[in-house]
């Protein structure tokens, strides 16, 4: 499948996930966890919007840069959110969605590498 089309789908998935996380915020019993998730949701929303634009325009290097940025921040979010301090009913959902986002961008970067796009030269 075309790399740009696939990236577009991935960004669309990320967009949906960020909206789900935003919608689940009122069900979060932990204030600190809620603000932390709000921050990552808005970040995912913004980068998904940027990524959709880049995919639409066929800008491969910007998609790669966006993917690395998402992986960088989302892994930081997961690393903090696994703390028992952030326990809340929404935690499994938050961790699951952000983990899927991490995985899809690793897959996307692998595909970009297979397509000979320079994934380490940012």
């Amino acid at each position: 499948m075309n790399f740009y089309r696939l990236s577009l789908y991935f960004f669309a998935i990320q967009l949906v996930f960020s909206i789900i996380l935003l919608g689940a915020l009122p069900f979060n019993s932990n204030t600190y966890a809620m603000y932390h998730t709000l921050a990552i949701s808005l970040f995912m929303l913004l980068t998904a919007a940027m990524g959709i634009y880049f995919s639409w325009k066929g800008q491969g290097s910007r998609i790669v840069a966006d993917a690395w940025l998402v992986i960088s921040i989302v892994t930081a979010y997961i690393a903090i959110n696994v703390s028992p301090f952030f326990n809340s009913p929404m935690k499994p959902l938050e961790i699951a969605l952000t983990s899927i986002v991490t995985v899809i961008w690793i897959v996307d970067l692998y595909l970009a590498w297979r397509m000979k796009l320079p994934i380490l030269k940012l």
């Binding site: 600190y32 940025l69 690393a79 903090i80 030269k121 940012l122």
Partner: protein, 301 residues
Amino acid sequence: MILSTYIGYRALSFLSYFILPQHVWLVAVGLLLAISLHGGWGAVLTAVPKSHMTLTEAITDTVGLYIAGSLIAPDITRFAKRAKDAVIAWVLHMYVFYPFLILGAVAIVLLTGSVIITEDMLKLGMGVGVLLIIVLGQWIINTVNLYSGSLSFTNAIPIRRDISSIIVGIIGTLLAAYWGYTAGASLAPFESFISLLGSLLPAAGGSVFAEFYIVRRYFDGIKDPYQRFKLEPGKEYSEVNLVGILSFAAGALAGFFVPGIAAINAILVAFFVHIILAYVFKKAHIKYEFGKYVYRGGVVR
């Protein structure tokens, strides 16, 4: 870290792009949590430090913490496409990111009395975050430092930069292991080293300022700032500047022995001694630049 430095600027660029956003996120969340759990910003503003130091000691230590970074900044900023980009990057870093990290760390220390932020994060159960901060933070910092060290080593001994990164990396690792083994968890050797840097290195800045803004401009009559230190392929340059070394030594001695703010003393003394010595040597027609270095062109990566 040695491998990253061996690869060179590309690895540095990638690491910065990947690690820094993650680092900022981890530190920012940790800091905000710690502050909100210990009484908020109001508590920070009314907090009283448990131990005190004089203002001159504080300035010397703060300069010492940063002066080496300032001196090696051109090793990285030389890759900027335009001079303006280097200035923008430096200003953003200096006035936005660095104060954010320093003021955040100060707030934590005032509130908790713990001088190690990672300890406070560990109390919140952020073990994985702390691990990432320590591993990735050390990775990027040491890679930049080793990169600059390998460039300096290449200037002193003409070998390939990637080979010098391995040599300097092994020496640095052995020295760090020795200090780590002898000092254990104590920060005392690090604090002494910071004070040493704060007294010693600002003198180098004073010498460079004097050479660039006064000697080259007024004594040598080079008005265009881009021409004052310009390297041209095939052209010969001197390797040793005696006035630079003497003024640096004078500034460093002033930093150590003259009472007051060591960093300012060192810069001012080195600056004026450099100008005076250069003027005297030039008037007396005494050559003070020695050695022969032929610039071969290209950028060392």
